[in-house]
């Protein structure tokens, strides 16, 4: 390879590198400012992502500036060899991958996880409410109709006797999951709970008894449901998600009014 060709390849690699840093910095900044971070990670780490975006933009900016200077002088400085790295990825692959994913992130907006993930992760675990987190703000005095779906699951987790809640008013929102093992006039109203990021989101929720067939509300529709609590006996195995011969008594929302709502901006519980 002659000197000129070598120069331009090196130049292109450094260019991709700077672009990748700038693209990721701007993508993280966009997520921070637009609130889309809520679809991806727990609010505890919003600040961390924001700072990261600024640092990445700064490093990318400095690198791009250096490159621009070198381009005007038509001379690339030799890379500082005092710190040697052995690289395994072919030259340019690492930064290209980073650049491509950042661009994809700019083109495709993140979306809330859907009922498919809920089924994949075993929503029926939540039928018998074994959430992993301990309740953080447990208030016994809260009015039943003011509890969110996640509050209900946590309350049940603390005192899992269905009869204690029978007759209480409910007003909750969540998305629809069609559990195959529930009868046709039941749907499962669910929300994901995040402890760290969407990767560990796990679904919780409660079964809802409808007056008509659930096909009216396809999976992933967001609903606000008002009604009252009843106890029912349903034949669902919590672990295997299959029908069993032994049925279990559990809390069910008896829906009086069902309203479709748009997907909320903060679809997850924490």
């Amino acid at each position: 390879m002659n000197a000129k060709a070598k120069f331009s390849t090196k130049f292109i690699y450094s260019g991709i590198e700077s672009l990748a840093l700038l693209a990721w910095g701007s993508l993280l900044l966009k997520y921070s400012l637009s609130g889309q971070l809520r679809l991806l990670i727990h609010p505890n780490y919003f600040g961390l992502v924001y700072v990261t975006s600024i640092i990445l933009l700064a490093i990318g900016g400095i690198k791009a500036g250096q490159l621009f200077k070198q381009w005007r002088k038509n001379k690339l400085y030799p890379l500082d060899e005092t710190i040697k790295h052995i690289t395994l990825l072919p030259a340019g692959l690492g930064s290209s991958l980073l650049l491509i994913t950042a661009l994809l992130g700019w083109i495709i907006p993140p979306a809330p996880l859907t009922s498919h993930i809920a089924l994949q992760r075993g929503v029926s675990d939540a039928l018998f409410v074994n959430t992993r987190l301990q309740p953080q703000a447990f208030r016994a005095t809260i009015k039943p109709e003011e509890r969110s779906l996640v509050d209900w699951v946590r309350t049940l987790n603390v005192y899992p006797e269905p009869d204690a809640y029978a007759g209480q008013k409910v007003k909750v929102s969540g998305f629809v999951v069609h559990l195959p093992e529930l009868p046709e006039n039941y749907l499962f109203l669910s929300r994901f709970i995040l402890t760290c990021c969407a990767v560990d989101a796990y679904p919780v929720g409660l079964p809802v008894k409808l007056t008509q067939n659930r096909s009216l509300y396809p999976p992933d529709t967001w609903l606000e449901i008002e009604g009252d609590m009843v106890t029912e006996t349903l034949a669902v195995d919590p672990q295997q998600m299959t029908e069993t011969t032994t049925s279990q008594r559990q809390l069910v929302i008896n829906a009086k009014s069902v309203q479709k709502i748009p997907t909320p901006a903060d679809p997850y519980g924490y």
Binding site: Y45, T52, I86, G94, A111, D200
Partner: protein
């Protein structure tokens, strides 16, 4: 289509959560790499084999986060006279015994603090044990690649005590000479330190930045590949398959170790990767992943080949794999 969207969201979520930690680790390691005087570090090393192994495993706290940065450091330390066994302990433990890695693991497994503690304890125990075993072999030529062993055998007998430059004539002395900054020939054996890393003040920031970008590029690329694999496994492999594999104590540990060896994800962020399996795999297998992955994976094997003979690499692999498996199995029976 919805599933592809789900996979993409999970993929982005992993990256967005992991990149701040990756950046933090890279910044810290680049700063330390430039600030720390390696020669003083080696001078302070204890001579007792077990103690040396333990200290070697712990100095990872002072050095780069990932294998690709650690391997060159280990090479430099070896050339400057660090015992081979200590270098092995360092290479095995350094990716895990590190403040950023421990913090990231804590964030991912907040509700299972035992994962964080046992990860550190197991990694230290394994690295120290293997390092101790290798300290019985004093002949470096049988461990290291020939070119590296040759350079170490040429070391002066007391490489760490700088001697005054001899005032006599250079002309009739044998040996290798270098031209120092004064343009006077200096005997290499007496002035070995001139060849080691020496960074002048104005170059420091440039070197720091270059190191940051280099590590981000390399580790970021691996992170993208690892995240893509993790999110695809989560979305596209049926739940029954994963549960069957993940709930058995034996197969779950083996599966996670295999995965750790294959994906080669950076230790700063592998906790988030492991988190995506936490709901379907046993805690012991998650632990096995977190302990084994940073020590041995495809990428680090490739890198370590630049230091060790292939046979030694196989020993390292077998020892690390066995110890991880045993410890994880013990964990699954005790907890």
């Amino acid at each position: 289509m919805a599933q592809i969207q789900n996979a993409f969201t999970l993929f982005l979520s992993l990256l967005v959560e992991a990149i701040p930690f990756l950046l933090l680790g890279v910044l810290l390691s680049s700063a330390l790499l430039i600030l720390i005087d390696e020669r003083k570090l080696i001078q302070g090393m204890p001579r007792h084999p077990l103690l040396g192994s333990l200290v070697g495993s712990c100095i990872g706290f002072l050095f780069p986060v990932c294998e690709c940065g650690n391997v060159p450091v280990a090479r430099r330390l070896l050339i400057q006279g660090m015992p081979t066994s200590v270098a092995i302990g360092f290479l095995l433990a350094a990716p895990t015994i590190n403040p950023i890695v421990i913090w990231a693991t804590w964030i991912a497994f907040r509700d299972q603090p035992e994962v964080v503690i046992l990860r550190v304890v197991f990694s230290l125990a394994i690295a120290t044990t293997i390092s101790w075993i290798f300290s019985t072999q004093t002949n470096v030529a049988s461990i290291l690649q020939p070119f590296l062993a040759n350079r170490i055998n040429q070391l002066p007998t007391k490489p760490l005590s700088p001697e005054p430059i001899r005032a006599t004539s250079m002309l009739l002395q044998s040996g290798t000479y270098i031209l120092g900054e004064t343009e006077k020939p200096l005997r290499l054996d007496d002035n070995f330190n001139l060849l080691s890393t020496k960074i002048t003040e104005p170059k420091r920031f440039g070197a720091f930045l270059d190191n940051v970008v280099q590590e981000l590029r390399e580790l970021g690329g691996m992170l993208v590949i690892g995240s893509a694999i993790a999110s695809c496994i989560q979305v596209f492999i049926p739940r029954e398959v994963i549960l069957n594999l993940g709930q058995d104590p034996m197969t779950s540990i083996l599966a996670m170790m295999l995965l750790a060896g294959m994906v080669s994800i950076c230790s700063t962020v592998d906790a988030f990767f492991a988190l995506s399996f936490a709901s379907s795999f046993t805690t012991s297998s998650i632990l096995a992943f977190l302990v084994f992955g940073p020590m041995i994976d495809l990428r680090s094997m490739g890198l370590m080949l630049s230091i060790f003979r292939p046979r030694i690499l196989i020993y390292l692999f077998i020892l690390a794999a066995q110890l991880t498996f045993i410890l994880a199995l013990v964990h699954s029976y005790l907890f």
